[in-house]
């Protein structure tokens, strides 16, 4: 367990900039903080040893550790409703399709203290107003849209709850069930409207819905259900109703936090905790698959009680990065109750100054998009088959136990929500407990069993061991600054698994290599999935896994275009930027048990590759390592002309066998037959690849996540580390590479 956790408001910060630290206690009484540079995070006794460096920066003494809860759950908040006049007659209405009914009370549409439509513990619709509760006989269903309303007419004293289930498989119009009581309600002046949640007596949000809501509306008259159905189906008709107080069209400003009221009152609001927008609505019947072309059909929001964007913890303290601090990976370390073993690490990058180059010619690209994609992932806990893919038992480290106890921390894009729909969003505005040094993982292979950030510290440790000066830049920096930032460097080194890329990032990196930059892709399964940032919500990332790829869920038909940007989601290979074109290789297989050496190929004899093999003997390289015992493994990439590998690329070495845990990717396995496995299929391999670019640049790709685990073997004194250094030295020499003549 973790007695203390925390996060920072940024993952990249420049010298002179201030960064906020939020700390939450989960058992700790006090804590003290210090500031360190992370050099090497793997604690495997067979590895080079854990190493960090204390930075002399006073972060204050002991502080009290305060309990801070996670409050997941998304909704829409419409403030300022009190601006409209006193309400006596009214109708509240919405179209709703729940996706999880599990005995919890849920709210659909609430004017707290005035009226509310919800779902009770028995899946029945409820309407509450003036102390009266109406309950439908009909149960709501996860299979259908429902047109629901609660209305009151002072003249007849009728408070009515109506529900019509839209069974679109029949030609009959939805037939409403109406429950009515006679009551004398006093008029009211609600202060806010909440969609998909309500408030408890303490004012905290509660009753979060798992499901989709479309076109909620509020009128100052009682409207019959039959009339309401036609009104809700036509926004142009709806907005002309003189009785309309508010109607929220979720298809407007879809890429933002904003929720638009189409009534003249303009009671606009905003989403809370980033529910999923650009989702098929009540009237979508497959007419269009791109929400940009028919946004009116994408007027639903999918809410989840497990959505999490911003933990919203109060700031405990801030620190200003010293002006002279060199770029690197740093951490605010939180030591609870003087227990160093229980320290929590808030990791972030100190990038070089924005307005001037540091002078370093080598940069490590800190893959924050991929860290976000895996942030707080639960693959070994939620997905039982993970153990098969690991080829051994799941290890649960302390942070995994914390995740198990605190699912409210929010998920990675590898999880499903409680309603079994995929998690499209991951945010950095919350503790990311697996983005720490020392922690073990599920997928890191027999040996160190570390993944993403901690595995990438094998590369940081190697840079330190060879005394290489370097800057650290993040995916977010590259997304924002593009080639303006990358052009400062001769060489960019990736992490072990830079899998998630935005379009800006792909184009910046391609522009870098095209114009003479040198890329060292020291990983596997890189440049694979399309992700997007949201210009209105810093720190959150979207991934919709359309059509293909190894994926834990698929987004559902009609949901292949990102809500944040409108981009088509899925694999870059299907979106005009195949990884093979950028780096020569592309994802071909995965297995998380053991890794293999590479067998040197005849192409290694080509004089173009002589500098790579300087001082390296033998025909098998990398028959050792901390990630599965070999340099080729975990996730492996192949060179493939058909996927965009340049014709002049040299495949220098190849892994020639893997265990039968390694199978084909779905995008390549069009016709499944039982021979596509690691001991049988040549296509399952890691290809060590090199090629020059037309602009005098060059690319060196390992096509293997396990590579860095071999670099770190024997205290970085081995042929894999040497080869990597050979490449780095030549790549850092500005002398242009000669593009081979065909």
């Amino acid at each position: 367990m973790l007695p203390i956790v925390g996060y920072t408001n940024k993952l990249t910060v420049e010298p002179g900039e201030t960064i906020d630290v939020m700390v939450g206690s989960f058992g700790a009484k006090n804590y003290r903080a210090d500031f360190r540079q992370i050099i090497q995070g793997d604690t495997n006794p067979d590895g080079p040893g854990y190493k960090d460096k204390l930075i002399d920066l006073d972060l204050g003494g002991d502080r009290r550790a305060l309990d801070k809860p996670f409050r997941p759950g998304s909704c829409v908040l419409i403030p300022g409703v009190h601006a409209i006049e006193e309400v006596r007659d009214f109708t509240l209405a919405a179209v709703v399709k729940p996706t999880l009914l599990d005995g919890r009370k849920r709210s659909i549409l609430a004017l707290p203290g005035f009226a509310e439509i919800g779902i009770d513990e028995h899946d029945r619709l409820t309407g509450v107003a003036g102390g009266q509760t109406l309950t439908s006989t009909m149960q709501v269903s996860v299979d259908h849209w429902h047109i629901v309303s609660l209305s009151y007419c002072a003249d007849t004293k009728a408070l009515s709850l109506a529900i019509a289930q839209d069974r679109d498989s029949t030609s009959e119009p939805p037939c409403p069930e109406v429950v009515t009581v006679s009551t004398d309600l006093s008029s009211g002046r609600p202060s806010e409207c909440i969609i998909a949640a309500s408030r408890d007596d303490d004012g905290e949000l509660t009753g979060f819905l798992d499901g989709r809501i479309d076109r909620p509306a509020f009128f100052d008259t009682a409207i019959a259900p039959e009339t309401l159905r036609n009104l809700l189906a036509d926004f142009s008709l709806l907005r002309r109703q003189r009785s309309l107080l508010g109607a929220w069209d979720f298809s407007r400003k879809m890429t933002t936090r904003m929720i638009c009221d189409v009534s003249p009152y303009q009671l606009h609001g905003h989403i809370h905790n980033a529910p999923t927008r650009a989702m098929t609505g009540w009237l979508w019947k497959g007419q269009e698959l791109d929400w940009k072309l028919r946004p009116d059909l994408y007027s639903a929001i999918h809410f989840h009680s497990t959505d999490m964007y911003d933990a919203g913890w109060e700031v405990d303290f801030s620190l200003t990065i010293p002006d002279d601090l060199k770029s690197g990976v740093y951490t605010v370390r939180l030591v609870p109750d003087s227990d160093e073993e229980a320290a929590y690490y808030c990791v972030f990058a100190v990038r070089p100054p924005r307005d001037r180059a540091s002078g370093n010619t080598v940069a490590f690209l800190f893959p924050t998009c991929s860290y976000l994609a895996y942030a707080n992932h639960r693959l070994g806990m939620d997905v039982p088959g993970t153990e098969i893919g690991m080829g051994r038992a799941v290890e649960l480290d302390r942070h995994h136990m914390f995740l198990q106890d605190n699912p409210g921390i929010g998920f990675s894009v590898y999880e499903t929500h409680d309603d079994d729909t995929g998690v499209f969003h991951s945010s950095r505005l919350r503790p990311i407990v697996d983005m720490q040094p020392k922690v073990k993982s599920f997928l890191g292979g027999y040996g160190s069993n570390i993944w993403q950030f901690n595995a990438d510290t094998h590369i940081l440790g190697w840079l330190d061991a060879i005394d290489q000066d370097y800057d650290v830049i993040t995916d977010e920096d590259m997304h924002e600054d593009g080639l303006r930032l990358l052009q400062r460097y001769n060489v960019i080194l990736t992490g072990t698994h830079p899998e998630y890329y935005t379009r800006n990032m792909m184009e910046a990196m391609q522009g870098f290599t095209d114009r003479g930059g040198r890329l060292m892709y020291l990983g596997g399964n890189g440049f694979y999935w399309v992700v997007s940032f949201n210009e209105d919500m810093p720190g959150i990332m979207e991934c919709r896994r359309s059509e293909a790829g190894i994926r834990p869920w698929e987004p559902g038909h009609g949901h292949f275009y990102h809500g944040f940007t409108g981009e088509y989601g899925g694999l870059w290979r299907r979106n005009g930027h195949p990884p093979n074109h950028l780096c020569g290789v592309g994802m071909t297989s995965q297995g998380f048990d053991v890794s293999e050496p590479y067998v040197v190929s005849p192409e290694a004899e080509n004089p173009r590759a002589a500098f790579i093999f300087d001082g390296i003997e033998g025909t098998r390289i990398g028959d050792f390592g901390l990630a599965g015992g070999g340099a080729a493994g975990l996730e492996v990439d192949r060179a493939d002309l058909a996927q965009g590998t340049p014709e002049h690329a040299l495949v220098l070495a190849t892994s020639t066998r893997h265990t039968d845990i390694y199978l084909m990717t779905p995008e390549d396995l069009l016709d499944p037959t039982p021979d596509w496995s690691g001991t049988q299929a040549d296509i399952i391999r890691a290809d060590l690849t090199f090629f020059e670019t037309i602009g005098g640049g060059a690319v060196f790709s390992t096509g293997s996540i396990a590579w860095a685990g071999s670099m770190a073997w024997n205290g970085y004194d081995n042929e894999i580390a040497r080869m990597t250094e050979n490449v780095l030295r030549r790549f850092d020499d500005k002398t242009p590479f000669e593009y081979p003549q065909c």
Binding site: T43, N44, P45, R378, G380, M381, D382, P384, G385, E387, I388, G391, R392, A393, V394, E395, L396, D397, R398, M401, Q404, D405, P407, D418, K438, K440, Y446, D593, V594, T659, D660, T679
Partner: protein, 108 residues
């Protein structure tokens, strides 16, 4: 229920696993392991890290997200291969009702 049921015919694969629990396995052993390591929450054993790289306790993972990991009292490992072999034997017993050590007396 999984289609593949483990029987005495799989004993050779048990011997194979206990000799080398990590790495390359015959197709027959892989099928046994798939049965043991798949989506059956009755025996979803996990290794709870007590000290990284040196000490693990045996636990059972609950199906429900957020539920407590059930610890198996008194079971501590100091070697991952030893842990794999012990979990294999426990699952063999869970699936067949038989004591693998009695069937393969030279396995431990």
């Amino acid at each position: 229920m999984a289609r593949y049921q483990i029987t005495d015919d799989d004993l050779p694969f048990a011997s194979e696993f206990l000799a080398e629990p990590i790495g390359y396995h015959s197709p027959g052993l892989q099928r046994v392991l798939n049965r043991m390591r798949g989506a059956d929450w009755d025996f979803k054993y996990v290794l709870v890290v007590e000290e990284r790289h040196s000490k693990w306790r045996l636990g059972k993972l609950p199906k429900q997200r957020g539920a407590k990991v059930e610890m198996v009292d008194g079971v501590v490992y100091t070697d991952l291969r030893e842990a794999e072999c012990d979990i294999f034997k426990r699952r063999w017993s869970d699936l067949t009702g038989q004591d693998l050590e009695a069937l393969l007396p030279h396995s431990s």
